[in-house]
């Protein structure tokens, strides 16, 4: 019996320290992930930053619409001015309206910069989080995105090109000559 006890204590259970090490590693990882989730500040993003970006972009759309309408109104009024001695004064008054309408760009530029900053911050945080948790994207494409892509492909919706038209008007004209 004494031998048996001796034999048991002489053979250490190798799993135990390894299991403890693994549990410690898991606890460390969970703690690390919790820190990374906290650093993501998801609540701040969904409560403040993203709604702010929506509001700013809505304001930009409204401001550009208002400015475009003012400019179009002034231009249409100029086209309808009677050709008399008041013509120049009439044109000048409308030109001032156009200059005034163009001031929208200063404000919309600032609004867009705020949105760009918010997106950049979101990108930085998501990228840091993805690296920290070694995130991998789910295989395949999101069904909604797939549907959108299929529609775009079927209806040849490429959208405007970033650096001007992909095919210049002259080249298009050549196809119709």
């Amino acid at each position: 019996m004494g031998l048996a006890v001796k034999a048991r204590s002489a053979t250490p259970a190798p799993e135990k320290p390894s299991l403890i090490r693994e549990l410690v590693d898991i606890a460390d990882y969970i703690s690390h992930v919790r820190n990374e989730i906290a650093a993501l500040r998801a609540n701040e993003l969904t409560r403040d930053r993203l709604p702010m970006a929506h509001e700013e972009l809505d304001s930009v759309v409204q401001a550009t619409n208002a400015a475009t309408n003012s400019i179009m109104n002034a231009a249409e009024e100029i086209l309808c001015l009677p050709d008399d001695r008041n013509y120049r004064a009439g044109v000048e008054a409308r030109m001032n309206d156009i200059f005034e309408a163009c001031t929208f760009q200063d404000i919309t530029g600032q609004r867009i910069r705020k949105v760009v900053d918010a997106l950049r911050q979101l990108e930085t945080r998501l990228s840091r989080f993805a690296t920290a948790v070694k995130a991998r994207d789910e295989a395949g494409i999101d069904p909604a995105e797939m549907e959108r892509r299929m529609r775009d492909e079927l209806l040849i919706l490429n959208g405007p090109q970033l650096k001007g038209p992909a095919t210049p008007q002259d080249a298009i004209d050549a196809l119709f000559d």
């Binding site: 619409n65 475009t68 209806l155 040849i156 959208g159 038209p165 095919t167 119709f176």
Partner: protein, 127 residues
């Protein structure tokens, strides 16, 4: 052959400012009879109620795009000869070729100017 300035023209674009710009350019060219529609579906409804001398359409609209509208027009026995100009920011060669195959009469890339619009209308309707 001179342009028929009395012919009704249908402008199809979902962006109201663009409709307004094209309307003003057409007015300067002497066209007074201009209607508009905000997508292909609304345009088809208009085309079935009035005979237009020209359709000027954008490509990227919802629910029905200008490309689909063009194919509907060319497939319709009563509409198939209606002159059709595409005015769009879709500037890839594949778009132009697809539109040409579908029967578009001319193709203008946005942004464009009055002279371009005039020359295309003359090429399509004045020849």
């Amino acid at each position: 052959m001179a342009l028929d300035l009395g012919m009704p023209i249908l402008v199809v674009d979902d962006y109201q400012t663009m409709v307004r710009i094209i309307r003003n350019l057409l007015k300067q060219l002497g066209f007074e009879e201009v209607d508009d529609a905000s997508d292909g579906t609304a345009a088809l409804a208009r085309l079935k109620n009035r005979k237009y001398g020209l359709v000027i359409s954008d490509w990227n609209m919802e629910p029905m795009t200008g490309y689909e509208l063009l194919r509907h027009v060319r497939a319709d026995e009563n509409l198939r000869t209606t002159p059709f100009i595409m005015v769009t920011a879709e500037s890839k060669t594949e778009n132009v070729i697809a539109a040409k195959k579908a029967g578009v009469n001319n193709y203008i890339v946005k942004p464009f100017n009055a002279a371009t619009l005039k020359s295309k209308i003359e090429a399509v309707c004045g020849a």
